[in-house]
Symmetry: C2
Subunit: 356 residues, 2 copies
């Protein structure tokens, strides 16, 4: 059922707006992924993009069981377009997606487009939650038996201690609401587990965090992201982005070498056939597609960034994440937790070190 | 042939001092590793540690073909001892090892002990090369077809643009002298390949580097450490340490999952036997032991830090690295290159941006 633009959506269902022009496979992947997610999660969709082309793509799917609106947005934000330039495109699919979130016409939005532009527009038009100075990009990375939430992944190259503390609170909410962890373990990324190491900013953030009602486990190192059972790892956007990209590089290198090794001899090729089912199960455990969807946490609205190169499964998962963030009322939860902790934060900062 | 302490070494051979008390396996591993390296490289050894215990350990080896001195140093620097405390131990094996380098009695030193203490003592007693403000810890990480030199890995949590530029010059010398690269490609670790991204410090370092006679390839991202063919990646000690530890975490996680997968079913176990020879060849390619030995670059003397948990192979390789640094006269080479580029550096900094 394709209902005309701007018609009312069923008010009792969650609705997610999808930027259909974002990512490396515009229209095809965002639309197919969104449809799959909507069917799985039971939510409504608003597909944002050039109306005719969206309709043409939709026509290739059976969508009789779904509630879908189309919002016309003819313009596209380029993947390499400067955020300052992208912001001026009033009729871009990205801008209209964010507008729908801002106007409360949907409960969340998703885009696979230009991260910098999405972040800039999200911050400008949605604004941050009161008490949050800067939004953060949060990503989940797979680890044995679960995932670790990492933030910030690049929204803020330089962070104050207060920024890091706010990120920790947002991470706590995410881990509770989305990962259903009762008392999420929160670590501060540092270069040694000893308190003496690290920058002044990190040390100061650690001091504040240790006084807040959070399960703050102290400093963690890069390897702990993957080998410990910490739920949330907090860092500045520069370090976080380097950690994430480095992880991708190592994983890619090992995978490439592994494939080459398995195909290197007749003997190994036969062995490869035998181990394949076991390796497939393993690969699924650490498949980054499972956790596709960077979360723009701290904004007064749900906004998820899918990986630009996401395929169908990955885009479906990112759309599900937007739905779960909306359903879990993550924005309200962060608002409440930050206001609840605001007293503690200023008290922690004001307290003289000697009274520790 | 065990010659008495302080006797003259053959002056035409390179001599390396070995802190025999450093690392998790004192005496045994450093001595056995040093002997193997000395035999391989054809250099002399000065074993620094408690004389009697060093002699006892040496007695279990046939060393008739080697030139070895023992320098008595009864005290040990603890792996968790504060650098400020460790510095005061005048008779520690670490301190005496550094003294031998400073006094020119050996051409280089190696220790598997406390990194912070080694760095602090090295800086205090060896001093930095003229023109180098701060030494850096450099590490090599394996990548397909070679290795990448990363620096700084944790000596300096906060770095100026000038520090980063000096690290680049030191990395260039290392890659030329040790890795025999004619015109090493040098990248600056950043969070995007676009020039607009990153911190002001990184941007400023990039501007200076682009004007120096180096093969500066611009910004690189975390994944490029493992997937590109850049020879040297320059970053501050905080980011570098996180990148290195994160890499270790990812590699360990994948290895653990891989082992579990291969042993998970009868079918996969049979397959594992068939693929094992191919996997062993692959493992050797990315074996971190091959590149054991963090280099304390920028000091007026060769000082190598072996991984504390290093086994025999790893310690042997780290000792070989100390020998190669000494043989390649890396300290002199850095001195010359930094003085050669000093003019370029100040010119680059003074130049107004409009003339770029």
């Amino acid at each position: 059922l394709i209902v005309p633009t701007q018609s009312p959506m069923p008010s009792d269902r969650i609705a997610i707006a999808v930027d259909t022009l974002g990512g490396d496979f515009p229209l095809e992947v965002p639309i197919a992924g969104a449809l799959r997610a909507a069917r799985k999660g039971g939510f409504s969709l608003v597909l944002v993009g050039p109306q005719e082309r969206v309709e043409q793509t939709l026509a290739r799917h059976d969508v009789t069981d779904l509630t879908i609106e189309i919002v016309d947005a003819p313009d596209q934000v380029g993947m390499d377009e400067l955020p300052t330039r992208a912001i001026r495109k009033r009729n871009s699919s990205m801008r209209r997606t964010i507008d729908l979130v801002r106007e409360g016409k949907v409960d969340g939005g998703i885009s696979g487009g230009n991260t910098g532009a999405l972040m800039a527009m999200g911050t400008l038009f949605l604004r941050t939650i009161p008490g949050i100075d800067r939004p953060a990009i949060a990503s989940r990375v797979p680890r044995i038996g679960g995932s670790t939430l990492l933030l910030d992944m690049g929204a803020n190259v330089v962070c104050s201690a207060e920024n890091l503390v706010q990120f920790a609170i947002m991470g706590d909410v995410f881990a509770r609401v989305i990962n259903k962890r009762e008392n999420p373990a929160i670590g501060l990324l540092n270069i040694g587990s000893e308190e003496i190491k690290g920058t002044d900013t990190v040390k100061q953030a650690g001091e504040i965090l240790s006084k807040l009602p959070l399960n703050f486990v102290g400093n963690v190192e890069g390897n702990d992201i993957y080998l410990s059972d910490v739920d949330v790892v907090v860092t500045d956007g520069f370090t976080g982005n380097v950690a994430l990209k480095t992880s991708e590089g190592v994983a890619k290198m090992i995978t490439t070498l592994l494939k080459e090794a398995l195909l290197s001899t007749t003997r190994s090729k036969i062995g490869a056939l035998l181990v394949k089912p076991a390796l497939d199960i393993m690969k699924e455990q650490v498949n980054p597609d499972r956790y596709n969807g960077a979360l723009l946490l701290g904004l007064s609205g749900v906004l998820v960034k899918s990986h630009g190169g996401a395929g169908l499964d990955a885009f479906t998962n990112a759309t599900m994440t937007a739905f779960e963030l909306a359903k879990g009322r993550v924005v309200t939860e962060i608002e409440e937790e930050i206001s609840h902790m605001a007293g503690g934060m200023s008290a922690a900062q004001d307290e003289p070190a000697s009274e520790d």
